[in-house]
């Protein structure tokens, strides 16, 4: 866990042109920022490009950072806006559910052992599901699940109101459930089990 004082020292050092200070800042935030870019943009190449551009932007705009604000919210706010801009430029519009392409068939039907993290196949489909959400709904979801931000912190990072954050998270989940029900009921055995239990 990084202390607030330490972060303030990094910002001040970086503002004075101290390379080591800025390196520490990048080191601390590279994974959250990279993950956000990957989840938003979908490929590692684009994620790396975007993440680099974001840190260049952060360094250039460091003098506009308000030290009373949480550094993580500010960094993630710059990052999410950058990704949304990039998506807008790419004109990658979200696809209607009706237009959704066929899911890639599973490579094998072997039973999946219980595991903490998803395997790469499931992981790819999580990413696929994510990309069907509108960027404005994807951002709060990513911040919630991967960056472990509270509702309040998501508000700060996105500029949305508390009720908007709650409703976007909720609607994103509803949409994901709908997508999974229609296209990937096999994705989690948990879901099928739960369904049987209810119908019984």
């Amino acid at each position: 866990m990084i202390s607030v004082d330490q972060e303030k020292a990094w910002v001040q050092g970086a503002l004075a042109g101290d390379r080591t200070a800025f390196t520490s800042l990048v080191e601390a935030y590279k994974n959250p920022v990279y993950n956000l870019c990957y989840r938003m943009l979908g490929t590692s190449t684009e994620a790396e490009d975007a993440a680099q551009e974001i840190f260049v932007k952060i360094y250039r705009r460091l003098h506009t950072y308000d030290p009373d604000r949480k550094l993580s919210s500010w960094v993630l706010s710059v990052a999410s806006h950058h990704c949304i801009d990039r998506l807008r430029r790419r004109r990658l519009q979200t696809v209607d559910i009706e237009e959704m392409p066929e899911w890639q068939p599973l490579v094998s039907d072997r039973p999946q052992p219980e595991r903490q993290l998803l395997d790469s196949e499931q992981e790819a489909r999580v990413q696929q599901l994510l990309e069907y959400l509108e960027p404005g709904y994807r951002v709060p979801l990513i911040m919630h699940y991967w960056n472990d931000l509270s509702y309040q912190e998501i508000c700060e990072a996105t500029g949305l109101s508390l009720s908007a954050v709650k409703s976007r998270l909720h609607r994103a989940r509803l949409k994901l459930a709908e997508l999974m029900r229609a296209h990937a009921p096999d994705l989690i055995p948990l879901m099928a089990q739960a369904k049987e239990k209810v119908e019984a």
């Binding site: 390379r19 080191e27 999974m180 369904k195």
Partner: protein, 184 residues
């Protein structure tokens, strides 16, 4: 007022552990007698579990160095651009002041440039070549006259000062950037 839409929103809050006890009880009660909401609950729970299990994507190795290099190179370019723009604006302002002080000489040059037969002649015939050369010579002399006026005139001190300031700022910017670069 236990309508199902409201219950759905409670489910999301419940998943985020952001539900107050009273609402949590209301939710549990509703789920026991509403199969639709119970199904929605299990589905949303599954979505939640799935995303909680999705791993973090990590930045590739060497990322930090590349990013810091790029940020500092960008800052260097930015500072240089800023310095150059500053110098240009400063020079422009000083030039305007100086030229206003030498308005009569500028007027001389302009009147020569716009004299009949100089700029208006599209192509020069051999016979007019010497004439053009003569006019060119007169323009050059007038420009020299302006320069002489500027250098010897009362604005000599401010113009030299502005040049020195410009040079000083440039050196400062370069030294700061070299400092940051040598820290690599």
């Amino acid at each position: 007022m236990n309508n199902c839409d409201e219950i759905l929103e409670l489910i999301s809050l419940q998943l985020d552990e952001a539900l107050e006890a009273a609402d949590a009880n209301r939710l549990t009660l509703h789920l026991t007698h509403c199969p639709d909401c119970a199904l929605a609950f299990s589905e949303l729970q599954a979505v939640d579990a799935l995303f909680h299990r999705a791993p973090m994507k990590y930045a590739p190795s060497g990322f930090t160095t590349r990013v810091v290099d790029a940020a500092f190179a960008d800052a260097l370019r930015y500072n240089l651009r800023l310095g150059v723009v500053g110098l240009m604006v400063g020079t422009l302002v000083i030039s305007v002041i100086l030229i206003m002080g030498q308005a009569s000489l500028v007027w001389t040059v302009l009147s020569i440039l716009f004299a009949p037969g100089f700029l208006s002649s599209g192509s020069l015939w051999m016979g007019e070549f010497w004439q053009a050369l003569m006019i060119g010579g007169r323009v050059s002399l007038s420009v020299l006259d302006i320069l002489r006026g500027l250098l010897l005139g009362p604005l000599l001190v401010p113009s030299v000062l502005s040049l020195l300031c410009g040079a000083f700022v440039t050196v400062l910017i370069q030294r700061k950037d070299q400092q940051t670069l040598t820290m690599t």
